[in-house]
């Protein structure tokens, strides 16, 4: 029964996405990548939520809390809730620079703002790297959804099927298909979380408080796990991770940064939708209830990543387990499709630029397929890890885009060579610290490498006086309808 419900839900989602393609009258690259910059507040809301709250919410968050306790919940919830105020203030600038430069990708913006083809390629490389980790994050979560569906197939086949379905969700109409699928995906995910949490509360004899009391007893056996406080050893990591991840998550550093901002029809539409985003997080208390129920009733899970799905299997009837697994699977293919579309756009516009419209569309689709193939290989041949660790790794790379983005929005005197040097130094340092397993005394690797990136960008821009020095976006309105002053002429020369 659970398999039937699972297949039905996945089929429904793919069908809705394909129907979304029928809404596209004339498929242009602009329609494919940014929905012709026509989306209003609520379409944006569902797309942004669909891209942000994914299988990571259903699988990675419970696994982190199950394994590490409150400190993981603290940084996870902290950086997400704070990312919305960051997005409220910064995302409109993405929309502004996107229109100004007729940009559909981040690399478009960087390349045109700094008038540097080299920087465009550097941005592509860093973005591609972050997108691979993001895809690994989604792909790794898929196996748990398949297990919940009661389907016994190999990991490779799981990933191939998921890729093909994700392709169907994006290849015909691009962003419009995503906009059509997003409300269904969001609804499925909320329902899945709600039913597991309610079942857990009903299964616990004394309600919510009883679940936490029972889970607290396990703190004795697992010193890292304390139900109601932050262990002193985790204080520094928690605070620095919130700071390091809230800014890129707010739309300046992730691999899809700017993508939904480019689709907005206006800056006010973007701002208005971000006002309501923190309320979407009211699903997390339900997830936490389900997770602490697992801590109490399933304390010896060998794989913490399976905490949410195994809890669902334990307390729900088969058809509801199928629904939960289906919701997780649809969440994963939605974000895979979104990531693939972003990367396809990067390849068609920034790696092989200046092509006719028809060939651009071909390269968008080819880019999506290449991206899925590489992501599958990375997932199959990398060692398994706690999913939230992959999330941290994704942001260690994603945060490297923040200094350059800040330069585009706010900073004067920054040159392409400085941004490129900062990005290279920051990214290499982040990967060396992570893969070298070097002790950073609890400070988030992304924060360390991001600060160094910022410093290198400033110093190199100051020392290597070569290349165009553009005005930041915040200075554009002030100079409207005026001729360049001598100072500006010097600055832009």
């Amino acid at each position: 029964m659970q398999t039937t419900v699972f297949i039905g839900i996945v089929a429904l989602a793919v069908a809705v996405a394909v129907v979304g393609a029928l809404l596209v009258r004339r498929l242009t690259v602009g329609q494919l990548l940014v929905g012709n910059r026509s989306f209003g507040t609520w379409t944006l809301f569902f797309i942004s939520a669909g891209e942000f709250y994914t299988i990571g919410t259903l699988v990675a968050f419970p696994s982190g809390v199950y394994a590490k306790g409150f400190s993981y919940a603290m940084w996870f919830l902290g950086y997400i809730v704070l990312s919305w105020p960051v997005a409220y203030f910064l995302a409109p600038y993405w929309n502004r620079v996107g229109r100004r430069y007729d940009a559909m990708t981040q690399a478009d913006v960087f390349g045109r703002h700094f008038r540097s083809r080299t920087l465009e390629i550097v941005i592509f490389v860093v973005t591609f790297l972050a997108a691979l980790f993001s895809a690994q994050y989604s792909f790794a979560g898929l196996s748990y959804a398949i297990a919940g569906a009661g389907i016994d197939i190999s990991p490779t086949l799981t990933l191939i099927i998921a890729s093909l379905l994700a392709l169907l969700c994006v290849v015909f109409g691009g962003m419009r298909q995503q906009a059509t699928l997003a409300p269904l995906k969001d609804t499925l995910m909320l329902v899945a979380i709600f039913v597991v949490a309610v079942a857990a509360i009903l299964a616990a004899t004394g309600g919510v408080g009883d679940i936490f009391d029972a889970a607290s007893a396990h703190a004795v056996r697992r010193p890292a796990f304390v139900a109601e406080s932050i262990p002193p050893s985790a204080l520094l990591f928690t605070l620095t991770t919130i700071i390091a991840q809230m800014v890129p998550a707010g739309g300046t550093g992730s691999q899809t940064a700017g993508t939904h901002a480019f689709t907005a029809k206006s800056e006010s539409a973007l701002k208005k939708q971000y006002v309501w985003f923190p309320l979407y997080m009211l699903m997390y208390p339900f997830l936490i209830i389900a997770t602490y129920f697992a801590v109490d009733k399933l304390p010896d899970l060998k794989d913490p990543n399976s905490a949410f799905i195994v809890t669902a299997i334990r307390i729900l009837p088969p058809w509801l387990v199928g629904l939960v697994a289906g919701a997780a699977f649809v969440s994963a293919i939605f974000v895979l499709a979104f990531g693939g579309l972003s990367l396809g756009g990067l390849i068609s516009r920034n790696v092989v630029p200046h092509l006719p419209e028809r060939q651009q569309r071909f390269w968008v689709r080819t880019g999506i397929v290449l991206f899925f193939c590489l992501s599958i290989l990375l997932t199959l041949y990398s060692s398994p890890a706690l999913l939230v660790t992959i999330l941290n790794l994704l942001y260690y790379v994603g945060v490297q885009l923040v200094p350059g983005t800040m330069a585009i929005f706010f900073l004067r005197g920054i040159r392409a060579v400085g941004v490129s040097a900062g990005l290279a130094v920051g990214t290499v340092l982040a990967l060396v610290l992570y893969y070298g397993d070097i002790d950073t005394f609890g400070v988030n690797i992304g924060l360390i490498s991001g600060v160094l990136n910022f410093a290198v960008m400033l110093v190199v821009s100051r020392c290597v006086r070569r290349g165009h020095v553009p005005l930041p976006a915040t200075a554009w309105r002030r100079t409207r309808r005026t001729r360049p002053s001598p100072a500006l002429a010097e600055e832009t020369g």
Partner: protein
């Protein structure tokens, strides 16, 4: 209230908006829990710190709503930068 087509946000207005919309939520979410660490009261069955974080899901929305509906929105203008000459 429809946004004025002529007014622009002043520096002071922007600073107020950033303080209410970003600084206050940051202090509430990222700093305050370290000061409140160890409180063992339960609210609605949740440990206090969990409840505190959940409360900020609502309070952050309140802060952003104040920013948009009372500070930024009334003077918001869509930029017309295509007329800018130097870029």
């Amino acid at each position: 209230m429809p946004p004025s087509r002529t007014a622009r946000p002043s520096g002071r207005r922007t600073a107020l908006s950033v303080f209410i919309g970003l600084v206050i939520p940051f202090l509430g979410v990222a700093v305050a829990p370290f000061l409140l660490n160890g409180i063992s009261v339960k609210v609605l069955g949740f440990p206090f710190l969990y409840f505190w974080i959940f409360a900020w899901f609502v309070l952050t929305t309140v802060c952003l709503a104040v920013c948009w509906y009372f500070i930024d929105g009334p003077v918001h203008q869509e930029p017309e930068f295509e007329e800018t000459e130097e870029w």
